[in-house]
C-alpha cells in the first residue's frame, strides 16, 4: 500500500469516526447493537467479521469439504 493510499484511507476513517460521534451526539433514536454505539465500532466489527469469515471458510471449511471436480462423476 503506497503512502498516499494509506494517508487517504486515514482521512476517510477519521471522517467516518467524526460522523459517528456526530450521529451519536445528535441523539437520533437508535435501537441497534452495541457496536453501533461505539465510534468506529462498525469498522472494527467489519474487519473482525470479514477476517474470521475468510479464515473460517478458507482455512477450515475448504479443508473439510473440498473435493476434485470429478467427485460426483460416477454417481447420479
Amino acid at each position: 500500500m503506497s503512502r498516499r493510499t494509506a494517508a487517504g484511507l486515514g482521512v476517510v476513517i477519521a471522517a467516518l469516526a467524526a460522523l459517528d460521534v456526530l450521529g451519536f451526539l445528535s441523539g437520533s433514536e437508535h435501537h441497534g447493537g452495541f457496536w453501533n454505539s461505539v465510534p468506529l465500532g462498525d469498522l472494527a466489527l467489519g474487519v473482525l467479521g470479514a477476517g474470521v469469515l475468510v479464515w473460517f471458510a478458507k482455512r477450515i471449511l475448504k479443508r473439510l469439504l473440498s473435493r476434485p471436480e470429478s467427485y460426483y462423476d460416477g454417481a447420479n
Binding site: G46, L53, R67
Partner: protein, 571 residues
C-alpha cells in the same frame, strides 16, 4: 371476459400458445417481450380486488390482488420482461415456452386466493422451472434437473399432504395464516422451506441454477425462492423458528460463497444468503419487518437478476464459468462490468442502491425487537456479501491478471437488459418512496439517516480492507465443495439402488428356494415311487412353484384370519 385481461399471467400463458403455434416460423422472444409488457401493464395500475370462478364445484379464487400480492406480481413481470430482452438473441421456442410458463405460474401463484389454485400453480412452477433447467441442454443440466425434480417433488408432496389435511380438518379454503398447533402447519412449512432454500434443504438451488442456460438462470434466480418468501409472508408471519433459521441461512450462504469457484453457483449461494434476510424478517413479524421482507424481495429480484445477467455476460463472452479460468476481461466488456458493479453494490447494501433501502429495514427491525444475535449475524452476512459478490467475483472474473481469454462482443439486447436492470436498481435506491408507497403493511421507515449511512460505509470500508490484505488467500482454485446435496447424491442414491436390487432380488431368491424345496420333495416322492429313475428337469418347477406359493399364501391367510376372527369373538 375483460377480467381475464386483468390477470397478468393470462398474457404469459397466451404467449405460450402463440409461440407454440409458430414454433418453426419465428423466434419466440419478441412474443415473450410483448406479453411480459402486457402483464406489466395489467399490473401497473395496481387494481386490488378478487375474482373467482366455481369450476366443477370447487370455488377457485384465481385472482386475489392485495398490496402484498401485487407487489410480488409487479416485480415478477418486470424481471420476466428483462429476462426475455436479455435472452432474445439466443432463446429458442422451447426455452421461451418454459420461461413463459414459469413466469406465468409464479405470478399466478402469488395472485392465487385459495389453496387449490395456489397448489396448482405452485406445481406448475416446479415443472416449468425444471423444463427451463433441462433447456440448459448439457448432460450436467439433465442430471441436476433430475435431482431438482426429486427435491421439488418431495416439496410438492408435502404441500399436497398439508393442504389435504388442512382442508379435511375443516380449514379455510382461502389462503391465510395457519394455526401453528396442527400437522398441516408443519407440512406446508416444510414444503415452503424447500422452495425458500432454507439449509439443509437448499442444495437443489446451488446445484441446478448454474446448469441452466445463461438466460435460464436469470429467470430461475427470480421466481421460485421469492414465491416461497411470499408464501411465508402470507401463511407464516411471525413464526419464531424462522428468525434463527433465517439468520443462520444468511451466514451459511455467505460462508460457502467464499470458497466457491463457479460464478453462478457463487451467486446462487448469495440467493440463499439474501433469502435468509427475508426469512428472518418474516419470523420477526412486526409490520416493519414484514415490509422489510417484502421490499427486500422486490429489491433482491432486480439486483440478483442483474448479477446473473452479468455472470451470464461473462459466460456468453468467453464460454468460461470458473473464476480460476476467467480474469482480465473487463476492458472488452466495460458496460456489462459497470452494470454488474451496480448490482454488486445493491446486494451489498451500499447507500444510493436499492439493496440499501430494504436490507437496512430488516436490520433495523431486528434491532427494534432487541434481537441482538440476529442483528449481528445479518450484519456479518452483509460483510461477507460485499466480500464475495462485490469484491472477489469481479476481481477474479473481470479484473486481475490477463490470461489471454478470448472475448466475443456482447449483443445489444443483452446490454440493454442489463442497462435497464441497473437503472432500476439505482432508481429505487435514489427514490425509495417509489417502493415504499407500494408496501403492504403499516410502518414508516427512513433509510437515509446519518447513522445508517455511516455504519454501512464503515462496514464496506472494513471489508475492502480485509479483501486487500487477504486477496492472495481468496484466490479461487478448481474443485467443488461438498454441500447437503451429498446426502442424496451418494448415501441416499446408494441406499435406493441397494433397496431396489434387494427387492428385485427377492423374487428370484424365493423362486429358487421354492424350486429347491419342490425339487427335493419331488425327488423324494419319485425315489419312493420308482427307485433309480433319473431326476426331472428343473424348469417346470418354476411354474409349479408359483401355484405352490399361492396355496401357501392362502393357507397362511386362512390361519391369520381365523386367529383374528377368534380374537374378536372368542368362542
Amino acid at each position: 371476459m375483460s377480467a381475464l385481461f386483468l390477470h397478468p399471467a393470462f398474457w404469459l400463458f397466451a404467449g405460450v400458445l402463440v409461440v407454440f403455434a409458430n414454433r418453426r416460423r419465428m423466434p419466440g422472444v419478441p412474443v415473450g417481450v410483448i406479453v411480459a409488457l402486457g402483464a406489466l401493464l395489467a399490473l401497473v395500475r395496481g387494481v386490488e380486488g378478487t375474482l373467482e370462478t366455481t369450476v366443477a364445484g370447487f370455488r377457485l379464487v384465481w385472482f386475489h390482488a392485495d398490496r402484498l400480492s401485487l407487489l410480488f406480481a409487479l416485480v415478477f413481470a418486470i424481471v420476466a420482461l428483462l429476462g426475455f430482452l436479455y435472452g432474445s438473441h439466443r432463446m429458442r421456442a422451447g426455452e421461451t415456452v418454459a420461461a413463459l410458463l414459469y413466469a406465468g405460474s409464479a405470478i399466478a401463484t402469488v395472485l392465487a386466493g385459495d389453496w387449490i389454485t395456489f397448489f396448482v400453480f405452485w406445481e406448475a412452477m416446479a415443472l416449468s422451472s425444471l423444463a427451463l433447467i433441462w433447456q440448459g441442454g448439457t448432460a450436467g443440466a439433465r442430471r441436476a434437473g433430475m435431482r431438482y425434480l426429486l427435491v421439488h417433488a418431495t416439496g410438492g408432496a408435502l404441500l399436497f399432504a398439508g393442504i389435504a389435511l388442512h382442508l379435511a380438518g375443516g380449514g379455510e379454503t382461502s389462503l391465510g395464516a395457519l394455526a401453528s398447533d396442527a400437522p398441516p402447519f408443519w407440512l406446508i412449512l416444510g414444503a415452503v422451506a424447500i422452495n425458500a432454500a432454507i439449509p439443509p434443504l437448499h442444495a437443489w438451488l446451488t446445484d441446478a441454477y448454474p446448469e441452466a442456460s445463461t438466460s435460464g438462470s436469470v429467470f430461475l434466480s427470480a421466481f421460485t425462492t421469492k414465491t416461497a418468501v411470499y408464501a411465508l409472508l402470507r401463511l407464516f408471519p411471525g413464526t419464531e423458528i424462522l428468525v434463527p433459521l433465517g439468520a443462520a441461512m444468511a451466514l451459511y450462504g455467505v460462508v460457502f460463497a467464499v470458497i466457491e469457484n463457479d460464478i453462478r453457483r457463487l451467486l446462487g449461494y448469495h440467493i440463499v444468503s439474501q433469502v435468509g434476510y427475508m426469512v428472518a424478517a418474516v419470523g420477526i413479524g412486526t409490520p416493519l419487518a414484514l415490509n422489510g421482507a417484502a421490499s427486500h424481495a422486490f429489491s433482491h429480484i432486480l439486483y440478483k437478476a442483474l448479477l446473473f445477467m452479468g455472470a451470464g455476460a461473462a459466460i456468453e463472452a468467453t464460454g468460461l464459468r470458473r473464476l480460476s479460468d476467467l480474469g482480465g476481461i473487463s476492458r472488452q466488456m466495460r458496460f456489462a462490468v459497470a452494470m454488474y458493479a451496480v448490482g454488486a453494490l445493491s446486494i451489498s447494501g451500499a447507500p444510493l442502491f436499492n439493496g440499501f433501502i430494504s436490507k437496512s429495514m430488516i436490520v433495523s427491525a431486528a434491532g427494534e425487537e432487541h434481537l441482538l444475535w440476529t442483528e449481528l449475524l445479518l450484519t456479518l452476512a452483509a460483510v461477507g456479501t460485499f466480500l464475495s459478490v462485490g469484491l472477489k467475483l469481479p476481481w477474479f472474473a473481470f479484473f486481475g491478471e490477463r490470461r489471454g481469454v478470448a472475448v466475443r462482443p456482447l449483443p445489444t439486447n443483452l446490454l440493454a437488459a442489463m442497462g435497464i436492470g441497473g437503472g432500476l436498481c439505482l432508481l429505487y435506491g435514489l427514490l425509495p418512496n417509489l417502493l415504499y408507497s407500494r408496501l403492504p403493511y403499516l410502518a414508516t421507515y427512513a433509510p437515509y439517516t446519518l447513522d445508517h449511512v455511516v455504519s454501512t460505509a464503515q462496514l464496506l470500508l472494513a471489508t475492502g480492507f480485509v479483501f486487500y490484505l487477504a486477496r492472495k488467500t481468496l484466490t479461487p482454485s478448481p474443485g467443488l465443495a461438498l454441500d447437503t446435496d451429498w446426502l442424496y447424491r451418494i448415501p441416499l442414491a446408494r441406499a435406493v439402488s441397494a433397496t431396489t436390487r434387494a427387492l428385485a432380488g427377492v423374487g428370484p431368491v424365493v423362486r429358487t428356494l421354492r424350486g429347491e424345496a419342490v425339487t427335493r420333495l419331488d425327488a423324494a416322492a419319485r425315489r419312493l415311487a420308482a427307485p433309480g429313475a433319473p431326476p426331472r428337469r428343473r424348469e417346470s418347477f418354476a411354474f409349479r412353484a408359483s401355484i405352490g406359493w399361492t396355496v401357501l399364501f392362502a393357507a397362511v391367510a386362512v390361519v391369520i384370519t381365523w386367529i383374528m376372527v377368534w380374537l374378536r369373538n372368542p368362542g
